[in-house]
């Protein structure tokens, strides 16, 4: 896209997260960064760090030694490392693995009730939530998701297909828990949040169970959602 915009008279600069890709595409100007995928400007909540990153990329616009300039940002963002002693802001019991759809819905509903206060604190602290892709309130999610376990294909008003509705309901579950985990104290690493969610919550286990059902579905779009959009690869049971 940088190349095509530059061809159309627009000076561009790129923050590049994957060095092999930027070396292949050779945009006019780019800064290769050591940040994790999903955090292209480096460190959430650290304006000074973000400004350093942006200035490094934007100042390339003044350079005259093109047509391909590639620099490297040298510093790791502090939040990529596990925070010693971090505990999630939510205390929940060891998760169970229910045996049927109704039990899964009940277990998720009960766990979400425990998570809710922390989520409320997150929203008060940060002034926003990223929950909303399903366009449904949280109390809808347990029964909606559980019905897929029974072979149903329910839909939601905003989305074209049941599979897409499931995908974005799952995204909302992950967002709610991710926010709740960060409600208090200093930021954990993404790894710490993931380990907690996928290994120690009913919600994580529920999505893993939904993945299996989606992969086995005769519905082609459900198979795609199950394979690609529900569970990160490192948390798929072997």
């Amino acid at each position: 896209m940088a190349h095509m915009l530059e061809e159309r008279g627009l000076p561009t600069t790129v923050l590049a997260l994957v060095l092999p890709q930027v070396e292949k595409t050779r945009p006019p100007r780019a800064v290769a960064t050591p940040f994790m995928l999903g955090r292209p400007v480096g460190e959430p909540g650290d304006a000074a760090f973000q400004l350093r990153v942006l200035k490094r990329a934007l100042l390339l616009l003044e350079r005259k030694d093109g047509p391909v300039i590639l620099e490297h940002f040298p510093d790791d963002p502090p939040g990529m490392y596990d925070r010693p002693g971090w505990l999630p802001a939510v205390k929940i019991p060891e998760p169970v693995s229910p045996r049927d759809a109704a039990a899964w819905a009940a277990a998720l509903r009960a766990e979400m009730a425990l998570v809710q206060p922390a989520w409320d604190r997150f929203k008060a602290r940060f002034g926003r939530t990223t929950v909303g892709l399903s366009d449904q309130p949280p109390d809808v999610w347990p029964d909606f998701a559980a019905s897929f376990l029974d072979g149903a294909l329910p839909s939601l008003p905003l989305h074209h297909t049941p599979a897409v509705a499931l995908r974005f309901a799952a995204d909302d579950v992950k967002a709610l828990y991710g926010e709740a985990a960060q409600a208090d104290g200093g930021p954990p690493s993404p790894h710490q949040i993931d380990e907690w969610f996928w290994c120690r919550t009913v919600a994580g286990r529920f999505l893993i169970a939904l993945r299996s059902v989606a992969l086995a579905s005769p519905n082609a779009t459900m198979k795609v959602v199950g394979a690609r959009f529900l569970v990160p690869r490192q948390y798929v049971p072997s």
Partner: protein
């Protein structure tokens, strides 16, 4: 680079070996000092306003879409619908600017380090192929109309 050694193997291989477009030309457009430039952000995070339908199709062979992100949107209303489940979302949960650094551009403008912030930015979800020419034409026309002379691309 994103530390490939820290990325799970399957994602690492996919990221490093993703087929990427190549081009016969190397355009390079000059401009004024940064302090005079009007800057826009282009994000591959599939940003949307709360209540809108999330992105589903990436830009590819005429399908998919690129949407405008007005500077006037409130941070509370901006959601992210990037496709990959293997990318971190917790940073965006905590601070939108780690993906869409609009407040940082405002800081730079207030400090006189850039000229101004564009009225409209753009977002899409990515694909390996080159951007469809029609999308690039429309985006370029809108950016020129807004007098933008500096674009920062922020792939997620």
């Amino acid at each position: 680079m994103a530390r490939l050694e820290d990325i799970p193997e399957a994602t690492r291989i996919a990221a490093a070996e993703l087929p990427c477009p190549s081009f016969d030309t190397t355009p390079f457009v000059a401009g004024p000092k940064l302090a005079k430039r009007r800057v826009a952000i282009i994000s591959s995070a599939g940003l949307l306003r709360r209540g809108a339908r999330p992105f589903v199709k990436p830009l590819h062979d005429g399908e998919g879409e690129c949407r405008a992100v007005p500077s006037t949107w409130n941070a509370r209303d901006i959601l992210l619908s990037h496709a990959s489940v293997n990318f971190d979302r917790t940073g965006f949960q905590r601070d939108m600017n780690v993906v869409f650094p609009i407040d940082r551009l405002r800081d730079l403008a207030a400090a006189g380090e850039i000229g101004s912030v564009a009225e409209t930015h753009f977002t899409f979800i990515p694909v390996a192929d080159p951007t469809p020419a029609g999308i690039a034409d429309e985006m370029a026309a809108a950016l020129h109309s807004d007098r933008v002379d500096g674009v920062i691309l922020v792939p997620i």
